[in-house]
Symmetry: C2
Subunit: 254 residues, 2 copies
């Protein structure tokens, strides 16, 4: 497909590289900043622009991978004078209706992207939605060139997917970060000592449901250990709040 | 070494199997309940007893893997009339001084154990402590037959290790469980769709520090997304508490 890529952030970079790698024709990259646009365009062997009014008109699909906060505005500018463009955004928590064109869709790759890490797109679950059956087919075909795991999800379902991803990824990673901080401040053991435990915790839920896999003081409601651990966090009220809220919730689910 | 194993729970089972597999001589298993004692003794080709007063006297080491709440009491009974026994407990959050004998130590394998899953002990970080240099050497030698990752950690450091493990494992797993619940209640997507994200989140911190790896609305302080996600949790005040506490803490660390 002939694609114009709107955005040059982590997600745009990762999806752009994957699309180019699958033989799609990346006509052009748009970014507000010339440096980002140029850098990504060079990677994708495409043209670039920093002006939405100079976006090329002959693409089959405009893939809009920009920050949620500017999505509506960017989409409106892309649609102005071009009501027939097929706009597709990539945002988990934005409804498809944010896009003003008649032909529109969503392709939400549920993964955590960092510039420093290459990810294998084939493994990434992609959730698609489109405003009509024909565009849905086109979008499915496109998504299937990227990933082996393509699902349909409407805007309502996608909101919850994105929320679930915040729990499974962003909050999980922060738990890692807090444990790194605790080790550093108390005896200086390196964070590496936690990696086997982190890996096993992730592997376990491939076989058991997370409810079955739960271990630790809160599931046993071992108030003796929990009180001692809260005391260790005496001078960290934000960590105590987290400890209490998560322990209570584990207990409620038991 | 000749070892008596006190306890027959998840940890005792896993460590007992690992010790037997490395050629140690498991003389006897003790458990309060005959059924558990017999089951584990059969696995380890050892004798068993349900009475602490009938524990054999010729072991080099008594490995006490029982619930924290009964550890002090069990240790006291083992020591009564046998002040020279070398007692070693396995609990992350209990000080070595819980043991009343002159020769004592701790061997804390930091991992999440479930009866359903076989774990590779070689990969498990084991933290050791002993009351004198000679016993420390013996305990290190024993631990090294089990694991490639043996560290020394005193009781103070171990408390924080255990707390860090609660964050990296128990709290992380509960985030998985909450995400499973959210998916189930909203559109019924299977939890499996989260596994690639879970795996990548765990893999990422092998290369980046968790602070560098952080993504999501809270690190961008995207209040628009955060408010919408809190609304989705409107009828779940405990989840809102968790969402707020973790988002605030991510923000504080940024």
């Amino acid at each position: 497909m002939k694609i114009v890529l709107i955005g040059a952030g982590n997600l745009a970079t990762n999806i752009g590289k994957a699309l180019a790698g699958r033989g799609h024709d990346l006509l052009q990259v748009y970014s507000r900043t010339a440096e980002s646009a140029e850098r990504l365009a060079a990677l994708l062997h495409s043209d670039y622009t920093t002006s939405l009014s100079e976006v090329k008109d002959e693409a089959d699909l405009y893939l809009v991978a920009v920050k949620d906060s500017v999505l509506a505005d960017v989409a409106e500018q892309l649609a102005k004078g071009h009501p027939d463009r097929f706009l597709v955004h990539t945002a988990g928590s934005m409804p498809m209706e944010t896009l003003p064109t008649r032909r529109k869709g969503v392709l939400y790759p549920m993964q955590t992207f960092s510039k420093e890490r290459e990810v294998d797109f084939r493994e990434i679950p992609c959730f698609i939605e489109a405003s009509n059956a024909e565009d849905a087919e086109q979008l499915r075909a496109l998504a299937q060139t990227l990933s082996d795991k393509v699902y349909e999800a409407n805007s309502e379902q996608r909101k919850y997917l994105h929320l679930a991803a915040v729990f499974c990824c962003n909050f999980v990673n922060h738990c890692y970060a807090l444990s790194e901080k605790l080790l550093k401040e108390n005896g200086g053991l390196p964070f590496d000592v936690m990696l086997p435990l982190i890996d096993e915790t992730a592997r376990k839920v491939h076989e058991l449901s997370p409810r079955e896999a739960q271990t630790g003081p809160a599931v046993r409601w071992d108030t003796n250990v929990m009180e001692k651990q809260l005391q260790l966090l005496e001078d960290k009220p934000e960590l105590q709040d987290i400890y209490k809220a998560l322990s209570k919730s584990i207990h409620l689910m038991t």
